[in-house]
């Protein structure tokens, strides 16, 4: 069966069934008629690269609210509000859909505060991740989407002053030629040592696979983040900027980057300060080596992993632990719950 027919069948199956009977766990506020809509998904991940890019685009085009996924089944609430003995509210991570009508095609955005995970702090995986990914695609299909974009981080051996490239991973060979057109994109085969292979963790990866199974085209755009900043508790906005530049090329959207550039400059400053504090926190013999390692990356083209086996071993024994401990220590503090 041709791909387009599968998409239509999928759509019809869903359109003919009311939402309440589908028990989809989604609420739709409006029923706009959309033309060739494209679904863009953003959720938190390393450096919040994807969500920052997608959310900035959503704001730039002034997308309207379309609906939301009911959070109870997927997420643990993050805040309770109790006033004078009464439970006023329980706040859950938000998972909302937005839409924007453009001239030639329309956009649907899905912006999530959190990726659902069975185990706290882990990447989205298992049943919940599979269910939410399908639910997002159900909504996309309901409005006629044929293509999905996700975005995340590509952990690479680059220096933080280097302009991050965007690794593009499509879910079908047919999309490769199209993606070649866009500036500053690279395929996994273009990364030294990769031979076109790799893994995409969490919903970004899962979505590509599930979309493929359901007959949809999907592309993941991953902004490069330096290896030593993967635990950083700040958004790595420089990579989001690269992703955003690719997205505006794809959709032929003119965007004023001035405000975003200011934000990038501000976060870069914070990152410089954080790196300096991190280096100061290291024992001297470790600091010298980490400092030299970071400095060595300056001006070099991006590479995938640590350069030699010896470096890999050393980083595993020293660097990883310090980086993880330093950047994740706040998360481990126990919070009082009521």
């Amino acid at each position: 069966m041709p791909k387009s027919q599968r998409i239509i069948d999928n759509m019809q199956k869903r359109i003919n069934i009311p939402y309440k009977d589908l028990n989809m766990g989604a609420k739709i506020y409006k029923e706009p008629t959309l033309k060739n809509p494209v679904l863009l998904c953003g959720w938190p991940g390393i450096g919040n690269i994807g969500i920052t890019a997608i959310d900035t685009l959503k704001r730039a085009v002034e997308a309207e609210e379309l609906g939301e996924i009911e959070p109870w089944d997927f997420f643990y609430p993050h805040k309770v509000v109790i006033e004078n003995g009464l439970l006023k509210d329980l706040e859950f991570p938000k998972n909302k859909f937005y839409f924007k009508k453009l001239q030639k095609f329309d956009l649907i955005f899905f912006i999530a505060d959190e990726q659902p995970a069975d185990v706290k702090g882990g990447y989205a995986s298992g049943k919940k991740a599979y269910e939410i990914a399908n639910l997002v695609l159900d909504i996309g299909l309901k409005f006629g989407c044929q293509r999905v974009y996700t975005s995340g981080a590509a952990v690479a051996q680059i220096h933080h002053t280097t302009k991050p490239r965007v690794w593009a991973v499509p879910n079908s060979v047919e999309l490769i030629d199209e993606l070649r057109k866009y500036k500053n994109t690279v395929f996994m085969s273009g990364i030294e040592g990769r031979r076109g292979q790799g893994t995409i963790s969490g919903l970004n990866g899962l979505m590509l696979g599930i979309a493929k199974n359901r007959g949809l085209e999907a592309i993941c755009l991953m902004g490069e983040i330096p290896y030593y900043l993967q635990w950083i508790p700040l958004p790595y906005s420089k990579a989001s900027q690269s992703v955003l530049e690719v997205l505006t090329q794809i959709f032929n959207i003119t965007m004023d980057f001035n405000l975003f550039n200011q934000y990038v400059e501000k976060t870069e400053k914070s990152i410089e300060e954080l790196i300096s504090t991190f280096l100061q926190s290291l024992p001297e013999h470790i600091r010298e080596r980490v400092e030299a390692g970071i400095e060595d990356l300056k001006g070099k083209p991006a590479q995938l992993g640590p350069i030699t086996d010896e470096e890999v071993k050393w980083f595993k024994e020293h660097g990883d632990k310090f980086l993880e401990d330093f950047f994740k220590k706040d998360d481990e503090e126990n919070e009082r719950t009521l």
Binding site: W72, D73, E83, G85, L87, V119, R336, T337
Partner: protein, 269 residues
């Protein structure tokens, strides 16, 4: 489709209320109070929630030298208006777990009210009276419990599972209250008999249980004696206690130090 719970018998119930507690809670408040009530009403387990969808089941935990694998069970007894839940907090699928519990309690047992027990840690002296803070999911239920000397709570922050349960009950139109007896932070890992007594006192009054509190009175006296002994033995503990008596907050380091000393001393007793 596989059932998420197993009912072994249908208890005879009339206008039942559900009391919920989780194992290994601070001060042993929920664990002990629910245990006392189950014994008092000669309660027996009638339903178990299957663990497979809610726990990793990658082995067992050992506590006090013994492997633990307690289930999540609902109990009912001769007294027709109470069912009790005691179990472990699920590791995932929290909302589904809470709904399974309420499915049994509401759909099979027609409960009319929900009570949850937890404890809230506080910088209070060990011999001070324990207040019970309360959170309700409806104004009407709050009004109906005005005579029970519960203190209304005001708070914003990360929710405990009992707050999630209270919210889930509200979605299902079940009035409920979460009881949060105060316990001294340094008694969180051992039994806080005073908090157990005040909480049991509430349920005694609310459901006319007539559970004798003598055992708890004896335990309170014994614990007070042990605390005095520790204060005499360890001047630093005595110093901390004097500060707490004066309502002076301890630093984080001093708090950890005090909690370690007290729990180690009482645990060894």
């Amino acid at each position: 489709m596989r059932e998420l719970f197993r009912i072994t018998r249908q208890p005879e119930l009339e206008n039942a209320s559900l009391i919920v507690g989780w194992e290994r809670d601070a001060g042993g408040v929920a664990t002990r109070v629910i245990d006392y009530i189950i014994k008092s009403i000669k309660g027996k387990s009638f339903c178990e929630i299957e663990p497979i969808d809610f726990f990793q089941l990658g082995g067992v935990e050992v506590d006090n030298d013994v492997a633990q694998f307690s289930g999540n069970r609902l109990f009912a007894g001769g007294m027709k208006d109470l069912i009790l839940f005691m179990g472990n907090q699920p590791q995932f699928n929290h909302f589904r777990f809470l709904n399974v519990m309420l499915d049994v309690a509401h759909n099979h047992c027609q409960i009319k009210e929900l009570y949850t027990i937890s404890a809230t840690v506080s910088s209070i002296p060990y011999n001070s009276p324990r207040q019970i803070l309360a959170v309700y999911n409806t104004q009407e239920f709050q009004n109906s419990l005005r005579t029970y000397e519960l203190m209304d709570m005001t708070w914003e922050g990360p929710p405990a599972l009992n707050s999630f349960l209270l919210f889930t009950a509200k979605m299902r139109h079940i009035p409920g209250v979460s009881l949060w007896p105060e316990i001294p932070f340094y008694l969180a890992t051992v039994d806080d008999y005073r908090a157990q007594k005040s909480t049991l006192g509430f349920f005694n009054k609310r459901f006319n249980l007539n559970i004798g509190l003598d055992i708890l009175d004896e335990a309170i006296e014994r614990q007070s004696r042990e605390m005095l002994k520790l204060r005499k033995q360890d001047p630093q503990v005595d110093h901390y206690m004097k500060l707490l008596d004066k309502r002076v907050s301890l630093s984080q380091e001093d708090s950890i130090n005090l909690a370690n000393k007290v729990s180690q001393f009482l645990f060894n007793k």
